[in-house]
Symmetry: C2
């Protein structure tokens, strides 16, 4: 009986997690093989607060894509200046996907295409790093 | 009865999450002002599986630092080749901190210093991007 209850609870937790994941872009902490898409943007006019805000607003639309599990939009932190630290970029995004297929859906998604159409005129350089957890 | 069972399950899920959060450095999803420390490493011998494994083993020790809230260690994903994608790096880490102070504790921590001592001979280039959520 106790065992059955435990099994029932575990299943319920698993199901509960499933429901939450589909309703919200929740993180999958330290999930094996999660795909992380890092992008760093350098604006054409790095001193334009208006351009930065436009870019950030565009980046925020990306969380509407159903395969995006977690999103972080950032700007350079005021950490210690060191030779290895590149703080010349204007904005960054980190998107988490379950797998390669999720990333492909994102690349081809109308929301992503609209973001590129609306915002690509703002930046002069982009670097993308795609990493898979080991 | 059904309602009671539901309530019991919800509580169990909440408790389960609580226990996990105190036992592990779990992420704080989309937490305001979280500091994300991205590091990309290029090995001197990029074809050496042994060197890569040594670096990854070293990176894994960093989760022992108490201010590290989340850690992802990765290698390049096999996403589509595009001009903007840099997949030339050997390994990556993403560390999450609550704030600048947490990142400073990490920089000065004996575990981090030991990692640098043990592994810095393996890499020829490192790029660090520190970002703070907007």
């Amino acid at each position: 009986m106790k065992q059955n209850r435990r099994r029932f609870i575990s299943t319920s937790i698993a199901l509960g997690a499933g429901v939450a994941a589909s309703a919200l872009p929740l993180p999958k902490p330290n999930q094996k093989k999660v795909l992380i898409h890092h992008v760093f943007f350098w604006l054409k006019n790095p001193s334009s607060k208006e351009d930065l805000n436009k870019l950030i607003a565009g980046l925020k639309t990306l969380k509407g894509i159903e395969t995006v599990r977690q999103i972080h939009i950032g700007v350079p932190a005021s950490t210690e200046k060191r030779d290895v630290v590149d703080n010349s970029y204007s904005a960054s995004e980190i998107l988490y996907f379950d797998n390669l297929a999720g990333q492909k859906v994102y690349q081809d998604h109308p929301i992503h295409k609209k973001f590129v159409d609306d915002c690509s005129g703002l930046w002069e350089k982009v670097i993308v790093y795609d990493a898979v957890d080991v």
